[in-house]
């Protein structure tokens, strides 16, 4: 296995057995996968396709029936390697009686991070995920989105080389989703490897370098976004400031070159762009709002539903 490979699986298979040892479910069937370091890899598939099973096998939560898996060059059972891995599970499972500070401190101690360094990282991460306003509240009082944010923070507490995120944007509002994607892209810039599992296809398409699609435990296809999605036979042009006459001339020119005009129309922004624009116009800064204790989904949804420009915090 070469040094640039972050994750490698060889015929990785998992069969869940019943109480008497009889085969019940073939969750993963001979998965062969390579993930290079410094890339963002998306693992896609419908529910029950084997995405979470793959992640659990890579993290040593369950054991393979057949085959092998290597993470950062070592076996999945190697404890020392886990100091270089960050993991966000699909469900936010933390001690609910702790607050954000205590939660990150607990996980930081498991990595044997010295106290001073731990405090610095906790402050930075809480700021980065936008939970400054709620850091002293117990997680019992957190919304789903807030729990996701603290989950991302605990996945990054050890400054890992490999980050495994299972449905990272699940439960997040559009702003939270955007920020999470920005965090993931920033991690890639730092040379870290990200394995991202999701069934929100647009999120995966926006940020992943390579993807793999699983279905019924089998790998269906794998490749880069460009390789899999680009259509070589179609050209898209976005042109500004063209009059109707000029448009007709262009259309005629294309027909003259034996091209087929599929459609000519004004492109639309995405709903996400509109939402972000409205929310960011209403708020002077992202962090000021956090400090006054409002959640973005609350502001966004109230603004969208009422169309009210009044400052909720006043």
């Amino acid at each position: 296995m070469d040094n640039n490979t972050a994750i490698k699986t060889e015929n990785l298979t998992k069969v869940y057995k019943g109480f008497w040892g009889r085969k019940k479910v073939l969750a993963l069937d001979k998965l062969n996968m390579d993930i290079q370091q410094g890339k963002i890899f998306g693992l896609l598939g419908p529910n029950g396709s084997g995405k979470t099973t793959t992640i659990k096998l890579l993290l040593g939560l369950i054991f393979p029936t057949e085959g092998r898996a290597y993470v950062l060059g070592k076996s999945t059972q190697d404890v020392a390697t886990k100091s270089r891995i960050g993991f966000l599970p699909e469900e936010s499972c933390f001690y609910r009686f702790l607050n954000a500070d205590e939660t990150l401190d607990f996980y930081g101690q498991l990595f044997s991070i010295p106290r001073k360094e731990r405090k610095l990282r906790i402050n930075r991460l809480i700021d980065q995920v936008g939970l400054e306003f709620a850091r002293k509240r117990s997680l019992r009082q957190y919304s789903k989105g807030m729990l996701r944010r603290i989950g991302i923070a605990q996945a990054l507490i050890n400054n890992p080389d490999l980050i495994i995120l299972d449905e990272p944007t699940s439960g997040l509002d559009p702003i939270g989703t955007r920020e999470t994607k920005d965090i993931i892209l920033a991690l890639k810039k730092q040379g870290k490897t990200v394995l991202l599992s999701s069934h929100l296809l647009s999120d995966v398409q926006d940020i992943c370098d390579r993807i793999a699609i699983l279905d019924k435990g089998k790998l269906q296809i794998t490749g880069t976004i460009d390789e899999l999605l680009s259509r070589k036979d179609v050209v898209e042009m976005l042109i500004r400031n063209l009059s109707d006459e000029a448009i007709s001339e262009v259309e005629a020119f294309i027909k003259g070159k034996q091209g087929e005009v599929i459609s000519i129309k004004n492109p639309t922004n995405t709903l996400e762009d509109l939402f972000l624009k409205i929310v960011q116009e209403r708020n002077s800064s992202f962090r000021d709002r956090n400090k006054k204790g409002c959640e973005f989904d609350q502001i966004g949804s109230e603004a969208m539903s009422k169309g009210d420009k009044t400052d909720q915090l006043n």
Binding site: L61, K82, I85, Y95
Partner: protein, 429 residues
Amino acid sequence: MQQILVIAKQTFREAIRNKILLIFVILSLIAICCSVFMPVVGDGRERIKIVESMCLRSITFFGILAAILISASSIPTDIEDKLLWTITTKPISRTSLIFGKITGFVYIVGVLLLIMGSVSYALIRFAASGQDVQNGKELLAREKFEPLDLQVTGKSVKNIGNVYWIEGGGNGTSKWDFEGLAYKERLDELEIEVKLLVESKKRYTKKIPINIKIINPYTGKTQVESIEVFNNKPASLKLSAETLAGSEKLTLVISPENPGDFIGISSDSLTVFLGKKSFEYNFLKGLTIISAQFILMIVIATLGSTFLSLPVNILFCLFVFFCGNIIDFMRDLSTVINVLGAHEHDHGISAVVNKPNTIAFFLDYVLKKPLLVLSYVLPNFKNFDVGPYFVDGINIPHKKVFASFGYALLYVSLCLPLSFVIFKRREFA
């Protein structure tokens, strides 16, 4: 090591924040404090006995309950809530996780024991306050000595079962030798306690006089005292420790005073107490022995939690604790169920029914052997029972403390590695 302490601290913090420890403290203190209000018939020593007995039983009951409920539920709950997903994916081995959890459980039960023990001690002191010291109603922790040797001589001695019957009037005697009677204070008391079976040809007599000859083998000095004894009731003779005069050995010769009076003796009919140890130190030793059984139960519950679900594990632990308190009964029951070779003079169910039958056969093979096996495999929690020491006012010997801990350690050394092996292969699906 650091990670073990992190997990331990987290486990303890969870018990505090989730108010589990607080609930156990409140309930146990209510039970302990109720001991002071129990009705008592008799003198002040009876009140002290009641309070001591109830306090120790409450400490044991709530401590074991806390040990079982907290230890049996922690890991299954963490697995159910998927908390272990975020912990085991950190650089901590599963062995360290188990160690950390057990350490946390021991902290929790230790704090509970400290609180219960402190309040119990205060209540016992309160119950003993104002009692008449001279009448022996203070807190006792007497050093107990058992006979090294018993010799029964005389023409009129008859042996029925394990009991020797001696007739009075010089026809038979029982001689008891004691060693190791070292005393530190001249004012220490030497107490001879007898508990004999009594019969008399004078049918109306409920008590008979007996002679106790105290022989100092070192000085050769002999002293004869007479006391009256009732059938199977303890009677004591108190002497000054100066009777020993520097010797650590003592010989006692006991016989009924009058012909026609009989005493039935066995090896445990006579006990010697010398001096009084500190009650506080004795109480501390008692709590130490009780804590050993808590640690044992914690390890057993943790073993169960590595492969059983929460309700099944709790039932398993309660089963182990219950059976561990009736080990002697289980062994006796397996002896009673005896099919083979039964005849009218044997014990056994078939002796009652006069012939072997299907039920007895079934009981013999299905019940007897498993009971016998269980009685040897399961830990005997009677080994940690310190109640009789306090009720009888006896000092707990150090070897008892070490023996209790050694016994607990034996089971811990078996259960702990098994926990590690099972948990290492446990999947968190």
